[in-house]
């Protein structure tokens, strides 16, 4: 997609030359942290606010050295932590394509379904409706 043919993950290929995903300076596993959501993005539409607290389980994240090249194309950073580190990315031109470094499903409940999960399923309903229309069923 971006010509990073050697893109690798430090967990599975620690000696690779292009470690796009690298070990975090300090692990976030088990922590709850604030995420700043960029206004006007899909994530912001879903949350309806600019600051959320989310649960993290990760030891790895985007290597900051690759942030610029990764976001030169269609992929955009739409959520950051208080230090500005990447926490959410999405494809604005896609019907719904969003990834988080945290685990939103850990803070969902029957009374308060997680806003991202809900927005995701809403997008799936729209996709399914278009598909049914197309396939005549």
């Amino acid at each position: 997609m971006l010509g990073l043919n050697g893109a690798a993950h430090e967990e599975t290929a620690p000696d690779a030359p292009q470690l796009v995903i690298s070990r975090l300076a300090c692990s976030l596993a088990g922590q709850r942290q604030a995420v700043q959501v960029v206004p006007g993005t899909r994530a912001h539409q879903a949350y309806g606010r600019e600051r959320v607290i989310e649960a993290f389980r990760c030891h790895y994240g985007l290597n900051p050295a690759y942030r610029e090249v990764l976001t030169m194309g269609p992929l955009k950073v739409t959520g950051v932590d208080t230090e500005g580190e990447v926490r959410i990315v999405e494809l604005p031109d896609h019907r719904f394509f969003l990834t988080t470094l945290y685990v939103p499903q850990l803070s969902s409940s029957a009374e308060a379904p997680h806003p991202l999960t809900r927005a995701y399923l809403e997008a799936a309903v729209v996709f399914r409706a278009a598909r049914q229309e197309r396939e005549g069923r």
Partner: protein, 94 residues
Amino acid sequence: MVRQLSIGIVGNWDPKRASHIATNEALGHAADALAVALDISWLPTRALDDAGSASLLQACDALWCAPGSPYESMAGALRAIRFARERNRPFLGT
């Protein structure tokens, strides 16, 4: 009117992993709120690592990459993500 959705979760289901259980539960919470039924399939990454997997992915209305690295097959996970990106399927990676 959409009453049912097929959701494909990319990852090897591990009943001992809290984040996997939470994935199914969170989908259930949102589905109840939207009054739709879900048909959830966990798709082991090895089953996705060749071109024959396209029909598995095609059947899904949306794809979700589950927590828990490393995946058994990174190639399989990447194939599913690419499918979602290129075919404009709703996609969540957490």
